[in-house]
């Protein structure tokens, strides 16, 4: 029990710090933060349930008023803004990423974790993000997709990175990766 709580708490802290990491630019003017990489890693390392709990804890701190989202944002406002869908999708993304990595135990961890991160952390997350943006902005699917599409390549890179990181952590500390 103690182990579960400390792992979830420290992972929530890691997601927060990854958001503060200087973001790197993929194309001019499209900042990419490592925060959603943290969400993917939560799922592929802690497993579906605990990964989702770590993300929920992180979001709880944001809602409580800590400026932990990438770019120093936080507070209750971000949960009703145009990008709120991504925040609501974060725990689901971690859960799906973890679930897929857990189900694919027979294949190499690099493959299973990357697949989990791609489906959970990119596909599922963008479905939530796009639906949220459609609801808040009353734009159509095509317009929302066009607006969001500049960020998709960066997130695919992050998903592959998540696969490599998960495998490296498994090689260093096999007992810490719950999806194996």
């Amino acid at each position: 029990m103690e182990r579960t709580v400390t792992r979830i708490a420290l992972f929530a802290a890691l997601i927060a710090v990854l958001g503060l990491f200087p973001s790197f630019m993929l194309f001019a003017g499209v900042p990419i933060s490592a925060q959603s990489l943290g969400v993917m890693l939560a799922g592929t390392i802690l497993g579906a349930r605990r990964g989702a709990l770590a993300v929920l804890l992180f979001l709880a701190l944001v809602a409580l008023g800590l400026p932990l989202l990438a770019g120093g944002r936080g507070g209750l406002g971000v949960f009703v803004g145009p990008t709120a869908g991504f925040l609501f999708g974060f725990p689901v993304a971690a859960y799906v990423a973890g679930l897929i990595a857990q189900k694919l135990r027979r294949v190499d961890l690099l493959v299973s974790a990357t697949a989990g991160a791609l489906i959970g952390g990119v596909l599922v997350l963008y479905v939530f993000g796009a639906l949220g943006m459609m609801l808040v902005t009353e734009l159509g699917f095509a317009q929302v997709l066009a607006t969001l599409s500049v960020f998709i390549p960066g997130d695919i890179i992050k998903a592959v990175l998540c696969g490599f990181l998960t495998r490296s952590i498994f090689m260093a500390r096999p007992s810490l990766v719950a999806t194996r």
Binding site: E2, V5, A9, L64, G65, L66, G75, T147, L165, I169
Partner: protein, 204 residues
Amino acid sequence: MLALTLETHTWLHRIPAPAKLFALVVVTVLLLPVTDLRITGGFLIIVTLLYASLGGIAIREGVRLFRPILLILLVILAWHVVLGEPRAGLVICARILALVALANLVTMTTRLDDMIAVVTWLLSPLRRFGLAPSTFGLAVALTIRSIPVVLMKAEALRMAWRARSARRPGVQTLFPLALMTLDDAEHMSDALRARSGLASQETG
């Protein structure tokens, strides 16, 4: 770790946190379906007046919190103009501005402890399913305490990278950072257990 709460004391600070949160939920639900520009615009003016009543620092902080989504709002407005419905675009942008600003206002005038107390109270029914509210409080405290520690380790790793390489530190520091954080979690759970763990929390 600095919260977004304003240090100065205003009349909104004195209103209890549950009342502010309840009012926020009610206003948000009521305003979402409104499509009349006069109502959403009028509401935006009321929110602006609320900010003004708190003084200059509230306005500055409110604007700072808003800057990241201004670009998105412009894109939204541009799309609606392209689609030939500029008035609908204005309604939607006014609504987003007003609701986000109002939610941030609650955050800016409520202390972190009071927010945690509300969440702990909201989570108390989960006791039936084996989650003690005190466990949530402990997890929140652990995370808030750990963020500066993890941040310090991240900085140390980046400095070590700079000492060895002419290139900017990039993703290479992520692996040791994640590993150190996970190791910390193990040490922390051992330390918690040595102090009789979570069991003592629930009785005490």
